[in-house]
């Protein structure tokens, strides 16, 4: 029953994106085009990141946490942020509200990320006879990633698209965005330095994603209120 297992893990990994699209008003306003454009921008960003990583990074023999290398990886991770910026601001979107724009962009971004990073291992690995929990955990990771990306897109839209923000919240917004952008470095630090195994890392990611989601939701709704 191994194709069965593949099917299970696939709907766990990619289902939430489809559900998100259909459940929220995104489907009413037909923002599929925006999501697709965001996915394409993600592809481009991934290519640029790959080239930079290949050029600047050295492959270490042991699996330890090298601060210099990790710093370099984090810097290259900011290319991600640049890509999001491009997707949010430079692309022409149809007239859709701020609210839906960042959601659509975040959704497309996260879906492309999932497909690129998780589809191939899933296809090749989950169909085998051998059973491991790895692919279920990978699916959960993809869910957490979706939440992270949408939160980051929300912060991004706040930073670049909204001109009037309450003064007090601005540094908080930037801190939030910073944490979200460096999330890959944090998880890699946990995995290598502290030696956490995959289930614990995924658990951390899920809880962190919930926390960040709540924080960004509050920030976003706080900025929605018209300034007095």
């Amino acid at each position: 029953m191994t194709v069965f297992h593949f099917f299970n893990c696939a709907i766990l990994t990619f289902g939430p994106h489809a559900v998100y699209y259909s459940a929220t008003p995104l489907s009413e306003y037909d923002t599929l085009g925006t999501s697709i454009k965001a996915a394409l921008v993600y592809l481009g960003t991934a290519l640029v990141k790959l080239v930079c990583l290949a050029t600047f990074l050295q492959v270490s023999e042991n699996d330890s946490f090298d601060p210099y290398q990790e710093l370099l990886k984090a810097l290259i991770g900011f290319i991600d942020v640049a890509g999001l910026y491009f997707a949010l601001t430079q692309l022409t979107h149809r007239n859709i509200s701020q609210n839906n724009k960042f959601q659509a962009v975040g959704l497309g971004w996260a879906f492309a990320d999932s497909v690129l990073h998780r589809l191939a291992p899933l296809w090749v690995g989950a169909r085998g006879l051998e059973f491991t929990w790895e692919y279920v955990l990978q699916g959960l990771e993809s869910n957490a990633n979706l939440v992270f990306t949408v939160s980051l897109a929300a912060m991004g839209s706040l930073m670049w698209l909204r001109k009037s923000k309450p003064r007090a919240l601005i540094p908080l917004i930037y801190v939030c965005a910073g944490i979200l952008a460096t999330m890959p470095s944090i998880t890699s630090y946990l995995r290598r330095s502290l030696g956490w195994r995959l289930p614990e890392v995924v658990g951390f990611e899920l809880s962190a994603s919930l926390v960040m989601a709540i924080i960004s939701w509050q920030l976003f709704s706080a900025c929605q209120r018209p300034l007095v």
């Binding site: 029953m1 069965f4 299970n8 709907i11 459940a23 929220t24 296809w123 690995g125 006879l129 059973f131």
Partner: protein, 563 residues
């Protein structure tokens, strides 16, 4: 409008064809990444005069079970894993005799443990080892003479397999044996069905060392023949290395060839006897190869053979060696030969006994190699540590016959015994106390040479039907003999047709840990409910509860509008 639709249709078609191609390509990726991969060796499969023996199948795809042949358990779709150390032979015997159905059998052999030099092992250890060696020998005997309609494999114990076995036992103890619905471990050997091997070829190698013939001597010089068979037969042909039967004989023969070639290289010390060294194949099958080789020899050469010494299993005796003859002991010639051996034996401090076994011409069974000589009226003896003749296919290099149970000093003593006896006969020193191959002399028996050959032989499985064309092992034997003798001839023949063998002796076993169907269904349920919950949550938070309920209400009927 129409052209746009046509173009769209074309685009869709091309997209579909690309998708179909991608699917086909991707579906061809067959992955086989198991948690554990093990080298396994199959039980031999052969037909003797049409009756099938051994394991008749090779490919395996069943769940693992370890319920050790308990009655009442349905094992027809599982593979029973049995470590040999804990095997209960009577239960297994009953199981096989009752022809109970079984998916497959996997025997776990103890790892080779390093006993080189540890001659003074503890008492308990020795008894333990002796016990499972006996078990192994009996098991082999049982399996070789049974016809099993399922695959039977041997594997060596290692840590991973031990862990898996513990898990399998836990599963078995708690619930029913593993099937597709309850999860557990799945064993998979994917090979093709075993095919009959075309006729087995046997290769006999002979080396000739001519004696010193004075110019005025017209008569043919007498010949002494030294013969050993080099092939084996065991339950697992890929593991049948036969260190004692008959690796010890082969190593001894090569050392004798080396010693006598040194003596014969100098014309002053060349004896007045020719020496014929024979490495024969087909030993386990009633010495078929020896018989065919002798018949292919020139008749004059055969008649010139004074006597022949056959070496068989001389690697693990302590104090007593046996000389087996087929002529009655009262025969003057036999007495002379035996006296020669016992004189030297007394000097070396060992004992030789004489055993007489009459040949029954009507009985096709040839118990010792010398009987093939005797059937052609050539005097011959067999030197062996075994006091009783082995049965057909017994004691021919099975699973328990490995390097660590061999004693090099036994082989060295045997070489010394045979060499001195032959030398005294050749040079006419009978009765005199002259030691030609004394330790420390240039003609001393070389322990490292013997040890090196024993090591090599103990790593080469030598079951005759599975030698490839131009096998490197046979070539190396030929090369070694050529170094010590003047002329080497290779005689090729075909094993007699009553034996048919089947291929596929080695394979790789994949052990997968599989989850049951129930687990997959459960996971589907969990994921499905998670997605539905997520959908409802998002819907409610963004559009409100009323809209969610509105989804399920039927849309207002159209009749109202058209009316």
């Amino acid at each position: 409008m129409a052209t746009r639709k046509a173009r769209q249709g074309e685009m869709l078609e091309s997209v579909y064809s690309v998708l179909a191609m991608v699917f086909v390509l991707v579906a061809c990726v067959e992955l086989c990444d198991a948690a554990t991969v093990l080298d396994v060796y199959r039980l031999i499969q052969y037909d003797l005069a049409g009756s099938p023996f051994g394991s008749r199948f090779a490919s395996l795809n069943h769940h693992a079970s370890s319920s050790a042949f308990a009655p009442g358990v349905d094992l027809s779709r599982s593979v029973a894993i049995s470590p040999v150390r804990e095997l209960n032979l009577t239960v297994l015997r009953e199981f096989i005799e009752m022809r109970r159905p079984l998916g497959g059998l996997l025997f776990l052999l103890p790892k080779h443990f390093d006993r080189s030099g540890k001659q003074d092992a503890e008492e308990g250890d020795e008894v333990e080892v002796g016990r499972w060696r006996n078990t192994l020998a009996e098991l082999e005997d049982l399996l070789i003479h049974a016809s099993l309609p399922y695959p039977v494999y041997f594997a060596f114990e290692n840590d991973k397999v031990a862990e898996i076995l513990v898990d399998v036992r836990k599963n078995d103890a708690s619930s029913q044996p593993a099937t597709a619905t309850t999860g557990g471990f799945k064993l998979l050997v994917s090979t093709s069905e075993p095919k009959k091997l075309a006729s087995t070829s046997i290769t006999n190698i002979q080396g000739w060392l001519p004696g010193f013939k004075a110019d005025d001597d017209v008569n043919q010089l007498p010949t002494i023949a030294i013969v050993a068979s080099y092939d084996t037969f065991g339950a697992a042909p890929a593991l049948a290395v036969g260190s004692d039967s008959n690796g010890s004989g082969v190593a001894a023969l090569l050392e004798l060839a080396r010693l006598f070639s040194r003596l014969y290289s100098n014309s002053k010390t060349r004896g007045r006897f020719n020496l014929l060294f024979g490495l024969t194949s087909g030993g386990p099958y009633n010495y078929d190869g020896t018989s065919k080789w002798l018949r292919s020899l020139d008749q004059r050469l055969r008649e010139s053979i004074d006597y022949a010494v056959c070496l068989n299993s001389i690697g693990s005796w302590k104090n007593e060696l046996w000389i087996h003859v087929s002529k009655p002991p009262e025969n003057a010639y036999v007495r002379q030969v035996f006296e020669g051996f016992s004189d030297v034996a007394k000097e070396l401090g060992v004992k030789v006994g004489l055993k007489h076994k009459k040949i029954n011409i009507s009985n096709p069974r040839v118990a010792w190699e010398h009987e093939q000589f005797s059937r052609l009226r050539v005097t011959a003896v067999t030197v062996s540590e075994l006091s009783v003749a082995p049965e057909l296919l017994q004691n021919s290099g099975g699973l328990d016959d490995s390097r660590e149970f061999l004693s090099e000093s036994s082989v060295i003593k045997s070489v010394k015994l045979v060499a001195e006896t032959l030398a005294r006969h050749i040079y006419g020193h009978q009765g005199k106390n002259i030691e030609i191959f004394a330790d420390g002399s240039s003609l001393a028996v070389n322990p490292s040479y013997i040890s090196a050959w024993l090591d090599f032989l103990s790593q080469t499985p030598r079951v005759a039907p599975f030698f490839v064309k131009n096998d490197p092992f046979i070539a190396s034997l030929k090369k070694e003999l050529a170094e010590h003798t003047v002329e080497v001839n290779v005689h090729q023949d075909v094993l007699d047709g009553t034996y048919t063998f089947y291929d596929s002796t080695k394979a790789q076993l994949n052990i997968y840990q599989v989850a049951s169907v129930a687990f997959d269904l459960l996971l589907l349920l969990v994921v499905g409910s998670y997605l539905i919950l997520l959908f409802s949550f998002l819907f409610i938070t963004t559009r409100g509860l009323d809209d969610l309920i509105g989804l399920f209400r039927r849309p207002p009927s159209r009749k109202v509008k058209t009316a």
